[in-house]
Symmetry: C2
Subunit: 221 residues, 2 copies
Amino acid sequence: MSDSKPRPSAGPSEPVPKAVVSRLSLYLRELEHLVREGHETISSSELGRRLGVTDAQVRKDLAFFGHFGYPGIGYRCEELILAIKRILGTDQQWAVALVGVGNLGRALLGYKGFAHRGFRFVAAFDVDAAKVGTEVEGVPVYHLDRLPEIVRAHRIRLALVAVPAAGAQLVVDRLAACGVEGILNFAPVTINLPPAMCQVGVDLAIELEQLSFAVVNRQAG
Amino acid sequence: MSDSKPRPSAGPSEPVPKAVVSRLSLYLRELEHLVREGHETISSSELGRRLGVTDAQVRKDLAFFGHFGYPGIGYRCEELILAIKRILGTDQQWAVALVGVGNLGRALLGYKGFAHRGFRFVAAFDVDAAKVGTEVEGVPVYHLDRLPEIVRAHRIRLALVAVPAAGAQLVVDRLAACGVEGILNFAPVTINLPPAMCQVGVDLAIELEQLSFAVVNRQAG
């Protein structure tokens, strides 16, 4: 890689605040939008303006990971898209499992936003005999007891946990025992996370609280 | 209110960063957890430690909204809980509508995490004749055409939008026309937000990106 190309570092040398990683996703969305609009380059100030953050914040966020801008040009959209995907780990395809084929699980299997982001459901798991053996949105539903075998066969590293709160800890422990490395947890319960497993919790009540704050304080947008 | 009590200001005088508002929700969760554990007070450093932020960050976040700590004591948990609820607007009950009674909509209506946070579903809307007139999780499903009437009758101010992407803009416009002030948007599409309407977007692919980043960079937890 020549010196004039964007240089993602081997990995951030200091812990990266979660808020920074969240903004990477937003930058990625906006850059892809820009490319569709025909833009080839973008300045940090214009990228920031579109997302409601300062140009200094944009530069600081990206500086965690390397040097990406060109003097007098700004960022090359396609290059920065690829760099951010590398940072997020979505330049590769992830084989993903779902555990819990209830209403939420079905909605997640049908969610259109995952596949083109690099996340592909390869298996769903449940303990309900009426569901095991069926397909939902083209994804086969297996009994939870087959977890080790299917995880190994598909090299599943990430799982979405959409089971009732009471069953969540056991499911997470079983996923960890099979070598699954990360869970997106929808169960409204605190999980004792097994060592070496990562978790992102989705608490929809928090999103509603953010909304009520916005309404009460009229910070539209 | 005496000078020694926590003093939420009338409202923040400067725009509050979204990350700060997000952390308020986390503080609230942790404080409620502390109360259940029998704690009456907590220091900013201990509260921060439990959530992985510095004590300075805790104090700075809360300082947007007033003065809450007591020298030599820290925060009184119950008082701070109430103060944060006031700030977030969840010291009141919100009547909430759902639009779109598909798998996701059904999952949302059954989500246990909303009610005790102050959000109560009072109505669901769809255009499917097979769904209109039924109840889902105890919530009546109305035809979308009855939106103005039902919104007025129940004083609905917030709505969850769980319709397909293609229909989302029209639904949001209709909600705005009825006076609904905020939407939690699950449709994976950019909405042209009507004036005076607030939006919080839920993009589950972003959560998965955060998870893949964590796994790739092994920032467990």
